[in-house]
């Protein structure tokens, strides 16, 4: 029976390399066999070891386990229990046990026999020893190192390279590989000229160099890293809310364009925030570790999902940088690779002492504005100090008086026994300082409350501190997309011992350190349900205690100042006399959020409550940040704390009014940030987080503490390195690392040649298939490091090789012999990546936008796809300007709604790190390329372009169109096929059987774009032909 076909060239399947060598090689032949059949029970993991037998170490294998004698007797297979067991016919004796269903084949048993006969030499797994640059063979007929290794292998196989590809093919190949776009006809012509004067090799090399300087190079190569970095524009899981992380994407594009050394590229992404005098760009780089998913489902326990995100980070670093599947060791010691479970948590510990932070990102211009603003303010302050030389004494006196005033009111912090939320969506955490931190679900409406037994009697007032925390956006203290908050009501209820009723206690005379003037909520906070009568107000602290949910205390101090602490104090109408055992329920209600299910929430992120017995408690307008700073001894204060005190003091001094006005005016010029970035930030010393080994890898099953350390089987950590993330970055990019450089060059190779030298780009461990050219990989890895970890250098090496320049034409014999072209007896040929397919189509049709960097763009999306979301993405407004035709790199990626066009061509979803994509040819891809609106618009545009630029007759136009798509001229047969389609369409259009108006233009077409002398019928006929040409295999492939 036939079936719905999806033909495929799967990169993960069908290894069919023919070997010339006959002798048994431990790494190549034996290690994988032992890993496959034996190590599960007789490997490194103590926990699962059977019969005390270990076969992963020679010494242990020679000794044997508790059942038989020596498992291996070198030179004597017949006396080796290993062989006896494997060859046994007794179901109780035979190994592996039948229930494992992994019998050793006779051929493999023969290999083992030969190996033991040869002396059973063990060798460490090749990928765990640092690469050494092998010498090039003397007899090599080529000077190009890549070709030397490729040819040596081909010679052994009795094969040879193919002749060079046609110049137009090579020109197109270089364009697609280096900038991800096809050459224009002009670029092709220029290349021909260059070939004519300097020869193919020189012309190709010059072209490669030029293309690597093109800024579109960064756009093409960033995408490969975005796969590894599981980049997406939404948070994933049920809510899958949008996020802004494109600043990180821009960083990657720019890093590739600048050819940032790979060691620095990795270092900045792992620990950019810890570099001395780190720049904004280096902070953005650290976004790499935050590109994973964020669970914001109602009622989640945030710590569980932070841990899941940590596992994901380990996976991204493991598969992307180290090429090792660390994930196995999350739950137990790795069965095959030398990574103990404790070592997994050793690496984990480097990353674990972190906040899940979000920071503002300012454009270059904004950064200049801010720098100038700070300088201007500093100048005003200097003037102030100069003109008022007594300022220090005055400030000191003020501070002393202020402290004295503050100390008159004694506050007793409320120690929460429990927390809750009436919506039950939040599980707020009680921190050691008794502050309450709310993470997880971003709740637009509802409360968070705590339960406590107060320790004081005769309570007169309550203080609410609104505090910052680095797990909150921009440090908070709020949870809105700006880190702001609006508190609708503060409620206190009491329940007498033995009672079952909560009695509401009335609060009066609320005061705060800062408040905004009373006004309606701004349009951005609009909520269709709550704003029916347009009554929601924000303003003074009095709104906290007025019993009206539609009024809120808010203290947004404006851009540049808003992410700071605040405080409010309210008095009980009747001083409380609480019998011992009275329970209090203290709630913070938010009712001022907007419509978008999360980002526009107005929750307070972290707060702390205290009670007082002092009479008439209240606060003045001393900024709470300054109040907190004053509690710290002057010599221990940070510059920011000192500044906070100064800032709040000067405002209290009437004679400084002119300075204050000037500074206030300057602050008003502080720009709203261009965007923001999610990143990790190191926790403070006093707030540090311990790492524990997790039993079975379960997030809350912590066992013994694990300090940061690295796997013993790999190179050691630099001596005296502090155990910080920066040290981990240094370790990952250490030249002694056996893996980092190999993994990096292998991924570059994979992108250019279709399959990596190590096929499993994410796994270089003992179960990885044998590399096709191990020596070449090592040569490239060392050469990479010797050339300053320059990725452009490696790419230049690859694309200047004869191996790369070969014709991709394949004979039946060769196709059968080497279907995946691992040996490179022909040039690389495969369908381009999803993004490149779309970009090719836009480029040849003339639609491609030159947008470079910046926010993601929403492509048109069928309504049925938009509808089927847990939260309908109401923000999805397809671009109708030129950014509609941006490069696919900029297409918005929503994880739970994978872009159908990208998916049809095998782009990953961003759920997890992806180091290599499969390549399929599915009917869904065919439908997409034929009928997706952007593709249709491209065919219409290509028709117009051909009519405008393609000459005066059909044949010239057909040639032009064909060349735009494939970079070559059609054969006569090909040309007549196109012309036949055109003429038959023309006839039907003229007969009115099909309507030009429907076919020629989309609803976005502008009259000004249409070639002046083209008739609708002509455009329609050519649009039909253009659709065919855009769908050619050759158009979407690297040939």
């Amino acid at each position: 029976m036939k079936s719905f076909l999806i033909f495929s060239v799967l990169t993960s399947h069908f290894v069919a390399l023919v070997r010339a060598e006959s002798s048994v090689d431990f790494n190549r032949d034996i290690q994988p066999l032992l890993a496959e059949h034996c190590f599960h029970c007789h490997g490194k993991d103590d926990g699962s070891r059977k019969a005390k037998l270990r076969l992963d170490e020679r010494e242990s294998a020679l000794k044997g386990g508790e059942s038989d004698g020596p498992a291996i007797v070198p030179g004597q297979p017949d006396k080796s229990a290993l062989m006896t067991r494997i060859l046994s016919h007794d179901t109780d004796e035979v190994m592996p046990p039948p229930k494992e269903k992994k019998p050793v084949t006779p051929a493999d048993a023969e290999k083992l026999r030969q190996w033991i006969k040869d002396g059973a030499a063990y060798a460490g797994h090749w990928a765990f020893s640092p690469p050494v640059k092998p010498g090039l063979s003397e007899s090599a007929t080529t000077k190009h190192p890549v070709d030397a290794f490729i040819q040596a292998r081909l010679k052994r196989e009795g094969l040879s390279m193919s002749p060079a590809a046609a110049p137009e093919t090579l020109c197109r190949r270089l364009h697609l590989d280096l900038i991800g776009l096809p050459p224009s006809p002009a670029a092709l012509d220029a290349f021909f000229k260059e070939v004519a004067s300097n020869g193919l090799d020189a012309a190709a090399t010059a072209l490669a160099d030029a293309l690597m300087k093109d800024r579109r190079f960064g756009e093409k190569w960033a995408r490969h890293w975005l796969d590894v970095a599981r980049y997406a524009d939404s948070n994933g899981f049920e809510k899958d809310l949008p996020r802004e992380q494109w600043a990180w994407r821009d960083w990657v594009i720019n890093a590739f364009n600048a050819d940032m050394p790979y060691d620095r590229f990795i270092t900045e992404q792992i620990a950019g925030d810890l570099l001395p005098n780190r720049t904004q760009q280096q902070l953005i780089a650290t976004g790499f570790l935050r590109n994973g998913m964020i669970n914001e489902e109602g009622a989640i326990v945030p710590e569980q999902w932070r841990m899941e995100a940590m596992f994901d980070r380990m996976d991204a670093v493991g598969s992307g940088v180290l090429g090792l599947s660390l994930r196995c060791a999350q739950c137990h010691t790795h069965k095959f690779d030398p990574i103990a479970q404790t070592e997994y948590y050793g690496v984990f510990a480097f990353l674990n002492n972190t906040y899940e932070s979000q920071s503002w990102v300012y454009s270059d211009e904004q950064q200049k504005t801010i720098a100038k603003l700070h300088a201007d303010i500093a100048a005003v302050e200097a003037r102030l100090k100069k003109e008022h030389p007594e300022w220090q004494e005055k400030l000191a006196a003020w501070e002393a008086a202020e402290l004295e005033r503050l100390n008159r009111t004694k506050w007793s912090v409320v120690e929460a026994e429990d927390t809750h939320s009436s919506t039950e969506l939040n599980h707020p955490a009680v921190l050691p300082d008794w502050s309450i931190l709310t993470l997880g679900h971003r709740t637009v409406f509802g409360d968070v409350h705590l339960f406590a037994q107060p320790k004081v009697e005769a309570v007169t007032g309550i203080r609410l501190e609104i505090l910052k925390h680095d797990d909150l956006p921009f440090g908070g203290p709020g949870r809105s997309y700006k880190g702001t908050w609006a508190l609708s009501e503060l409620t206190v209820e009491a329940r007498k011992p033995g009672g079952d009723k909560w009695e509401k206690l009335k609060l009066v005379h609320a005061s705060s350190d800062f408040e905004e003037p009373t006004a309606g909520m701004e349009p951005e906070w609009e909520n269709k349900t709550r704003d029916k009568e347009n009554r929601r107000l924000r303003g003074p602290a009095a709104f906290l205690a007025d019993g009206d949910e539609n009024t809120a205390w808010r203290a947004d101090r404006g851009a540049g100042c808003r992410n700071t602490e605040a405080v409010a104090v309210a008095q009980f109408e009747q001083p409380l006399t609480l019998p011992p055992g009275t329970k209090l329920k203290i709630g913070l209600l938010t009712n001022h959020g907007g419509d978008d299910n999360g980002p526009k929430n107005t929750q307070v992120g972290r707060f702390r409550v205290a009670l007082t017995q002092s009479p008439d408690p209240k606060v003045n307008h001393t900024a709470y940040a300054a109040v907190l700073a004053m509690q710290i001894a002057p010599d221990k204060r940070t510059p920011q704390q000192t500044q906070a005190i100064f800032d709040t003091w000067r405002v209290t001094v009437p004679e400084l009014k002119s300075f204050n006005d000037e500074i206030e005016k300057l602050w008003k010029g502080f720009p709203e940030a261009m965007t923001s970035v999610l990143h990790l930030a190191e926790r403070s010393r006093e707030d540090s987080r311990e790492t524990h080994r997790l039993d079975r890898g379960v997030w809350d099953q912590g066992k013994e503490q694990v300090l940061p350390h690295v796997p013993a089987a790999l190179h050691p950590l630099a001596k005296d390195a502090p155990r910080s993330r920066l040290a981990l970055a240094g370790w990952l990019t250490d030249k002694r690392s056996p893996l980092t450089a190999r993994v990096a060059v292998n991924r570059l190779w994979q992108a250019v040649f279709g399959v990596g030298i190590v096929e499993t780009a994410e796994d270089f461990g003992t179960r990885a298939p044998e590399p096709s050219h191990r020596e070449l990989l090592d040569w490239l890895a060392v050469d990479f490091m010797e050339h300053g970890w320059s990725q452009k250098h490696v790419l230049r090496t690859l694309v200047t090789s004869a191996a790369y320049r070969q014709s991709s034409r394949v004979t039946p014999q060769l196709q059968e012999r080497d279907p995946k072209n691992r040996l490179l007896a022909r040039g690389p040929r495969f369908r381009a990546e999803a993004e490149v397919v779309r970009d090719i189509v836009l480029s040849v049709s003339g639609l491609l936008s030159d947008k470079f960097g910046g926010p993601s763009v929403f492509p048109p999306m069928p309504e049925s796809v938009i509808e089927f979301n847990y939260f309908k993405p109401t923000y999805w407004k397809p671009a109708e300007d030129t950014t509609r035709y941006s490069r696919a790199l900029y297409v918005f990626r929503k994880r739970s709604m994978p872009d159908p066009t990208m998916s049809a061509f095998d782009a990953p979803t961003g759920d997890a790190a992806c180091t290599r994509r499969p390549r399929s040819n599915s009917p869904l891809a065919a439908l997409t390329a034929m009928n997706e609106p952007i593709f249709i618009e491209a065919s219409q545009s290509l028709a117009q372009r051909v009519l405008r630029e393609g000459g005066q007759d059909d044949a010239a136009r057909a040639d032009y169109a064909f060349r735009l798509c494939t970079s070559r001229l059609p054969s006569n047969e090909e040309r007549s096929a196109v012309l036949k389609l055109i003429s038959s369409r023309r006839e039907r259009l003229q007969r009115g059987e099909i309507k030009a108006g429907d076919i020629a233009f989309s609803s976005l077409a502008k009259a000004s774009d249409i070639p002046p002398d083209a008739t609708p019928n002509e455009i329609a006929a050519w649009a039909i032909a253009a659709r065919v040409l855009l769908n050619l295999d050759e158009t979407v492939s690297k040939n």
């Binding site: 029976m1 079936s3 719905f4 076909l5 999806i6 033909f7 399947h13 069919a16 039948p98 269903k101 899981f237 049920e238 899958d240 009622a299 989640i300 899941e308 994901d312 196995c328 095959f336 809750h420 039950e424 461990g765 990885a768 394949v810 039946p812 196709q815 059968e816 279907p819 040929r829 069928p862 509808e867 847990y870 309908k872 739970s896 994978p898 159908p900 998916s903 095998d906 759920d911 997890a912 399929s920 040819n921 009917p923 869904l924 065919a926 439908l927 997409t928 096929a977 036949k980 389609l981 039907r988 059987e993 076919i999 329609a1020 039909i1024 032909a1025 065919v1028 769908n1031 050619l1032 295999d1033």
Partner: protein, 488 residues
């Protein structure tokens, strides 16, 4: 692993055959080439070609009715008179040790079932009055009352139920099935997804291919617009224009194929022909106007164009008739934290009749014996109340699933929960056990159906899972299991 080998070998054979084909067809026109390719394609080229599983099995295909949001077992399938009696009282303290609900404080009052239950069918299965039609097929059902899962939030729990793991990025059960059995449909995808109500918490990953090649993932059939995305030709294109376009495309691609010889080009030529066939088969498939009135009545379909669960059930039948291997319905509507009574009533009204109709319809067509029907959601709901007196929170310690057809017992209840429907009393069935059992019914040893990722042989059931023998109909599953790789 063995299975991957099998595909690998098949691919090797296929390449040889394709080259034979190419040599023989050089010089022939594109049409001849295509027809030869087509004839040869199903058996030789295709990673989706039908394959035999590890052991002979009754179930050859699956219709999985996923009721997302977590349907209340206490209102539907698990009759608890004691819970009714103790409604309003606090649950026993010992029950709550180490218990964490998602939202509520564990120490919330018990809430009695909102509906009456009664004995249904000759087997006397206790089922709720709110699902009378499902009650009518009690004698066909194998009801599992003792399902358990690890997750207690929707997205992770849905992902766990569908992929065997709480983390995103794993293949769904449907993808594993397709990977294992291949597809029997000539013109339709092997794994089709149909949705009603709202979007699910787990999103597209619920039916994704995870680390398997994406051809094994579910293909959504949409209830509005194109049934398959981008199925319709551009505006103004008639059938003749599309055919002429494809003929030109094939001619040009064939020329390139002859010139270059890359087998991938032949594959692309075929994918366009398949797309063309899908353009015809999909509209035919979703056109319910040819269904007789009594069938529409059976499903409760009043308007054949009205999207919804009932229509999806009938589409599922039409799909498996046309060789689709795995059809999965998602109906996300069951998260009754409040409004429990009305919510369950509405959902039952929307889904009860059609679910039962599907079983009856398959039975009368002789398709039930080798089609496995699965009905269930990601977890159950607390015996304790949430909110006032008409809501329940998430509960993962026990909940109900039912199976029918393809090798499972009929009129059978597996497992018992305690008197409050809080914990499993006997015969727990973990998600992994369920998945191991479903794979068994399809002919697979769940420990052998593996795919290597990062050096690990990954499987649907992780490192756990036991086949639940108690649900297998021994009269229908008495073939001995056989070791070794799947066979052609």
């Amino acid at each position: 692993m063995k299975h991957a080998d099998e595909i690998r070998h098949e691919r090797a054979r296929q390449l040889t055959r394709r080259w034979f084909l190419r040599d023989c067809t050089l010089g022939l026109g594109a049409i001849a080439l295509n027809s030869l390719l087509q004839r040869d394609a199903g058996a030789a080229i295709n990673p989706l070609a039908p394959r035999q599983p590890h052991h002979p099995a009754k179930a050859k295909r699956v219709i999985y009715l996923f009721h997302a949001g977590a349907p209340s077992h206490l209102e539907l399938f698990d009759y608890k008179p004691e819970l009714a009696k103790r409604s309003g009282q606090l649950p026993p303290a010992e029950l709550l040790k180490n218990y964490k609900a998602a939202f509520i404080k564990p120490n919330s009052a018990l809430l009695g079932p909102k509906f009456k239950f009664g004995k249904r069918g000759a087997c006397g299965m206790d089922l709720s009055d709110v699902i009378p039609h499902i009650g009518g097929i009690a004698d066909e059902m194998c009801l599992i009352r003792t399902m358990q899962t690890d997750a207690v939030n929707h997205a992770p729990a849905q992902i766990l139920m569908n992929t065997g793991n709480q983390n995103f990025g794993r293949p769904s059960f449907g993808a594993w099935t397709l990977y294992g059995l291949g597809s029997e449909s000539e013109d339709l995808p092997g794994y089709v997804v149909l949705t009603s109500a709202k979007g699910t918490s787990g999103g597209a990953s619920n039916y994704g291919s995870g680390f398997l090649p994406n051809m094994y993932g579910g293909v959504p059939f949409r209830s509005t617009g194109d049934p398959v995305l981008y199925l319709s030709n551009p505006k103004g294109f008639d059938e003749e224009t599309q055919r002429a376009s494809l003929d030109t495309l094939n001619q040009l691609n064939t020329a390139a194929y002859k010139q270059n010889g890359d087998a991938d080009i032949a594959a692309r030529i075929q994918s366009y022909e398949m797309a063309y066939r899908l353009q015809n088969s999909a509209p035919e498939l979703i056109d319910l106007s040819t269904e007789p009135q009594h069938v529409l009545d059976l499903y409760g379909i009043k308007d054949v164009k009205q999207p919804g669960y009932a229509r999806n059930c009938l589409l599922a039948r039409r799909m498996i008739e046309r060789g689709v291997r795995f059809v999965q319905l998602f109906h996300e509507a069951w998260d009754q934290h409040s409004g429990l009574t009305k919510g369950v009533e509405k959902n039952s009204k929307d889904t009860d009749q059609a679910s039962a109709a599907l079983v009856k319809d398959l039975k009368q067509r002789g398709l039930l014996d080798d089609t496995l029907i699965v009905w269930g959601g990601e977890f159950g709901r607390t015996p304790m109340v949430q909110g006032g007196n008409d809501g329940r929170d998430h509960h993962n310690r026990c909940f109900s699933f039912w199976l029918a057809g393809g090798g499972v017992k009929r009129g059978h209840v597996h497992g018992e929960t305690d008197e409050l429907g809080f914990n499993v009393a006997t015969d727990p069935v973990h998600v992994n056990d369920l998945n191991a059992t479903l794979l068994y019914l399809l002919g697979f040893d769940h420990k052998k159906l593996t795919y290597r990722v990062q050096g690990l042989d990954m499987r649907l059931t992780g490192i756990a899972g036991n086949v639940v023998k108690g649900v297998l109909d021994n009269h229908r599953n008495d073939q001995p299991a056989r070791d070794g790789p799947p066979e052609k």
